[in-house]
Symmetry: C2
Subunit: 248 residues, 2 copies
């Protein structure tokens, strides 16, 4: 058995998300990124391949550098795997690199750091070539207030108030290393780098930062949200979110 | 009656092209850019608005700066027109500017110069975020040969051999001011600036340049094609083509 690591890029618009759903071979299964990859690799190898991603991405979320790993006894090479996948994948999913990994490498369990970017277009006019990848929100956002709030998010915190599945028994403590807010003309990119992110966490953080940027609430709400005294903001739409990079 | 000029951007993927088809209000009509715009403007003004574009773009072709003009007796302003259109247009069509034009302005008849860009991705790996806007063609293209051929296209010529409707009785003489070939990593942009372009002309020019870039035929075929001694190349796919700008 050899272990392979893939870098996968996808436009998530047409998909139900990374994680496979339904039975192998079902229509639902084929509408997930994981299902698409497993289907093609199983055909290539003649084995029922199981792929592990660095983590789930929701329906409609995109990736430039999702990482996946899988094991196979089939004799092949990284170049063959890349070529075979890209030949059979639709044009909105691509394998940008493949390599042999050490036997113990696991895309999810070994992930140390992830970077996500959330893109907002505050113009009244949608960008017709980018509208699938950004949240169209005609609004005047105060960048300095958003940056003040972002600074309060950095560090090791219990992010449970910023997570959609509040009843999980697993630890919801995560470390956010950096939140950068980069305006360019009418577009704003919010980049998050952290040890890991909970279910919907980036989208809820962005919704909260937008409420602060609009002046609907002050940056000082952030500590009150961590303390459970105030609710977090709304969940920003999936389409603005892209998983940029995973570090091991 | 006032005359208005619009700058229109669109992702042509879902459309049958610029030019309206079928009856006003039919499903076909609404699958054209012109039909979409006329429908919304007619609703806004209560008149049966007729829009003139600078020219047709084929099914699947995109635009960053298509120009359209229309007349109306309805009392309004360019800002209101832009806001109304962008409120009701789908996110893959946008009006990026509107202004009042002189009474005699006509988007097609007064067009003096157009610029088109054709985008090719020669990588083995599709760009998942740009695949709708570029021709995916894994090939080694010789840029210098393509540039040598491009230089032979510049000038005033009868471009009938590079046109799909060879039997037209109208003049097929056009002036191409510049053809620029700009490689960047594995992507190649071919930009055409000219007095006007015939039906499918840019796509056939690109197909011919690709055949030359692959080494399937020499740059010296260009004069032979103009003279009718050799056939032009194939028609490159619509999705790589974008109308960038129209000058009046």
């Amino acid at each position: 058995m050899k272990n392979y690591k893939l870098i996968v890029a996808y436009d998530g618009t047409r998909y139900l998300g990374w994680q496979k759903l339904g039975e192998r071979g079902s229509a639902q299964y084929a509408r997930t990124i994981q299902g698409k990859l497993e289907g093609i690799l199983s055909r290539m190898t003649g084995e029922a391949i199981e792929i592990h991603g660095s983590g789930r991405t929701d329906a409609g979320v995109h990736a430039l550098g999702q990482i996946a790993s899988f094991k196979t006894g089939f004799e092949t090479t990284p170049a063959e795997i890349t070529a075979y996948l890209n030949r059979y994948l639709p044009e909105d999913i691509a394998v940008t690199a493949a390599e042999e990994a050490s036997e113990r490498f696991h895309a999810r369990l070994n992930a140390k750091e992830k970077t996500y970017r959330y893109s907002i277009n505050t113009s009244a006019v949608p960008d017709v070539f980018r509208h699938r990848y950004e949240y169209q929100l005609e609004a005047a956002l105060d960048i300095e207030k958003m940056r003040a709030a972002a600074a309060l998010l950095v560090g090791t915190h219990d992010f449970r108030p910023f997570c959609s599945s509040k009843r999980t028994k697993k630890s919801t403590v995560r470390t956010v290393y950096a939140v950068e807010i980069t305006p360019e003309d009418k577009k704003i990119a919010v980049t998050f780098r952290g040890s890991g992110f909970l279910y919907n966490m980036v989208r809820i953080l962005v919704g909260t930062l937008i409420e602060i940027g609009r002046g609907d609430r002050p940056p000082e709400d952030i500590p009150a949200i961590f303390e459970g005294r105030l609710p977090a903001g709304y969940t920003a739409p999936a389409k603005g979110l892209t998983l940029l990079e995973v570090v091991y």
